[in-house]
């Protein structure tokens, strides 16, 4: 009888184990916090581009001049990348000037490149992939197009320039333009290659503009970058062009100057109703998990390769936006924020569509039941910049005298 009961008990336990639901993820109640070491680099602006390099190291863009690596347990600044030793004059001559020899004249002046707080360029983005850093650097140069009639003609088609020409007659046109580069380094920031990001003819012909400054994802020999159909004149209130045959991403080949492929048709990721202002201010994020690369346009999340939608905007409030995400098996971890129209907007608020940001939350979404499982509101409002990894949410806060790295763990239960 006893043996029979034990057997029955074992059977019940076994069956219970078989029908057990998938584990749930839970956010930790506590937040870890560590002061950032500023002995080598003083942060003179709120750092950006937060990314995890490995379990204990994060990378940040500092002062638009450095990529700085920090230990998230001690806050120690372990390594910094800068372009201080780069001769941009020579780099421009050997890249852009060489490509447009006899047609365009590029003039680089280091004093203008870094602004009042110094520097010879802007270090404005990075990605870490397969033990290499892919660092986005731009410089401001003056360009003379006098010997490039084709480009000059296009420039003069700009309505405001047309009007100026009608009013003032002929004038010398010098265009201030950003030249863009990807600096590829190893894990120790030893430079292995500099790739000039020339305009690609295919993108020009199809009237697309790549936005490396918004974000990009490195993938060995290529970069995925958000693209946008050009609109003239530029108006932040204009609607983003969407629909069949319009793409949201380009895959830029880093080995072939003209190499480019399109990815993720806009019909598969909803940009409906986006103004250009919202496009520029939203968080366009790339994230890899379980070998798949995902893209979020601030409202929805899609797997890039098969264009499959992972998360739809129907689960967000109308004024709610995704700032980061991570795809776990059966679950999505997200951080979101809400925007509100200001009560007394200034002329700039209206012109640049600047809204207030609030209700910053960390959320867990069950992909199977398509329902929210857990929501944690943050009580601060200094940044909407978060980074979600496979086991934690990382963010930066600015105190009165110090910056701190904060982490919230999450785990299966």
């Amino acid at each position: 009888m006893v043996r029979y009961l034990i057997f029955l008990l074992m059977l019940v336990c076994f069956l219970g184990g078989c029908t057990r639901e998938t584990n749930h993820f839970h956010l930790s109640e506590t937040t870890d916090s560590v002061k950032i070491d500023e002995s080598k680099i003083v942060m003179t602006r709120f750092p950006g581009g937060l990314k995890e390099i490995n379990d204990s190291i994060i990378g940040l863009i500092n002062n638009n001049q450095y990529i700085s690596l920090y230990n998230i347990v001690t806050g120690e600044n372990v390594l910094n990348f800068s372009t201080a030793s780069i001769n941009f004059d020579s780099l421009v001559k050997n890249t852009f000037q060489k490509r447009f020899l006899g047609k365009r004249l590029y003039n680089y002046t280091p004093e203008s490149a870094g602004g009042l707080s110094g520097g010879n360029s802007q270090v404005a983005g990075f990605d870490y992939y397969n033990h290499s850093f892919y660092i986005y650097v731009n410089i401001l140069v003056d360009v003379n197009y006098d010997n490039d009639p084709e480009k000059l003609k296009k420039l003069y088609e700009e309505p405001s320039l047309k009007a100026l020409k009608e009013k003032s007659g002929d004038f010398d046109l010098i265009v201030g333009e950003y030249l863009e580069f990807i600096f590829i380094t190893d894990e120790q920031f030893n430079l292995t290659r500099i790739v000039p990001l020339f305009e690609r003819n295919k993108l020009l012909t199809d009237d697309y503009c790549p936005y490396y400054l918004k974000n990009y994802a490195a993938n060995n020999t290529a970069l995925f970058v958000p693209i946008q159909k050009n609109q003239t004149p530029v108006n932040l209130h204009s609607k983003v062009l969407t629909g069949s045959g319009i793409y949201t991403l380009a895959k830029i080949d880093l080995n072939v100057d003209e190499g480019v492929e399109y990815a993720l048709e806009s019909k598969n990721i909803d940009f409906d109703g986006y103004t250009l202002g919202q496009y520029y201010s939203s968080c366009l994020m790339f994230k890899s998990s379980f070998g798949k690369l995902y893209f979020s346009n601030g409202k929805e999340i899609c797997e890039i390769e098969n264009e499959k939608k992972l998360f739809s905007k129907t689960y967000l409030a109308r004024n709610e936006w995704i700032s980061d995400f991570y795809s776990q098996e059966g679950y999505l971890l997200l951080t979101t924020y809400k925007t509100y129209k200001k009560t007394n907007p200034t002329e700039m608020d209206n012109a640049y569509e600047i809204d207030s940001t609030g209700n910053i939350s960390a959320k867990i979404f069950d992909l199977k039941s398509q329902a929210w499982k857990e929501i944690k509101e943050f009580k601060y409002n200094s940044s909407k910049s978060f980074y979600i990894t496979n086991d934690k949410i990382i963010y930066i806060e600015k105190g009165k005298e110090n910056y701190v790295i904060k982490t919230i763990q999450y785990a299966e239960s």
Partner: protein, 164 residues
């Protein structure tokens, strides 16, 4: 192309941004800041609100303007949008375009709130470095412009010399 378009728009703004703007009186926020500073209040005062991280394209404008207007002998106030001591010390060493040494009729304030307060008082709340001409006798702003949009110093100089 889009970025080139932005540059073109900027060029046009530069070409057309020469009108002098007169704001109504009672800019009491600026008055409250200026009042306690050792600046000559019988003449118009030049105010710069400086964001050290902003000026990629305005640095030339600021340099040239600062030099050009210096000879007029007006009081000048630099408000720098920095609060933390560690940042102030680092930037004092780095920024070569502002003379931080004490001098008559010059004041330097390191304070982001005051920087924001002055810019917002003329409806500009973007982190853009700006230049103002303020008449302390009438508590009135005679001229204001984002530094990178100033293309003609004549207007600025005229505002500095004018008495409302």
């Amino acid at each position: 192309m889009q970025r080139a378009n932005f540059c073109l728009v900027l060029l046009c703004i530069l070409s057309f941004s020469c009108q002098q703007v007169e704001r109504p009186s009672s800019h009491t926020y600026i008055h409250s800041i200026i009042d306690s500073l050792p600046l000559n209040k019988t003449k118009n005062i030049l105010i710069y609100t400086i964001n050290p991280n902003d000026c990629i394209s305005c640095i030339y404008g600021f340099k040239a303007m600062n030099k050009e207007i210096e000879e007029n002998g007006n009081g000048r106030l630099y408000v720098i949008s920095v609060d933390r001591l560690i940042e102030k010390n680092a930037l004092s060493k780095k920024i070569k375009d502002i003379d931080f040494l004490p001098e008559n009729d010059k004041a330097i304030i390191w304070d982001k709130k005051i920087y924001d307060g002055i810019n917002v008082s003329v409806g500009k709340n973007l982190p853009s470095s700006m230049v103002f001409v303020y008449d302390p006798r009438k508590d009135s702003i005679l001229y204001f412009r984002i530094i990178r949009e100033v293309s003609d110093y004549k207007e600025l100089r005229k505002a500095l010399c004018s008495a409302k």
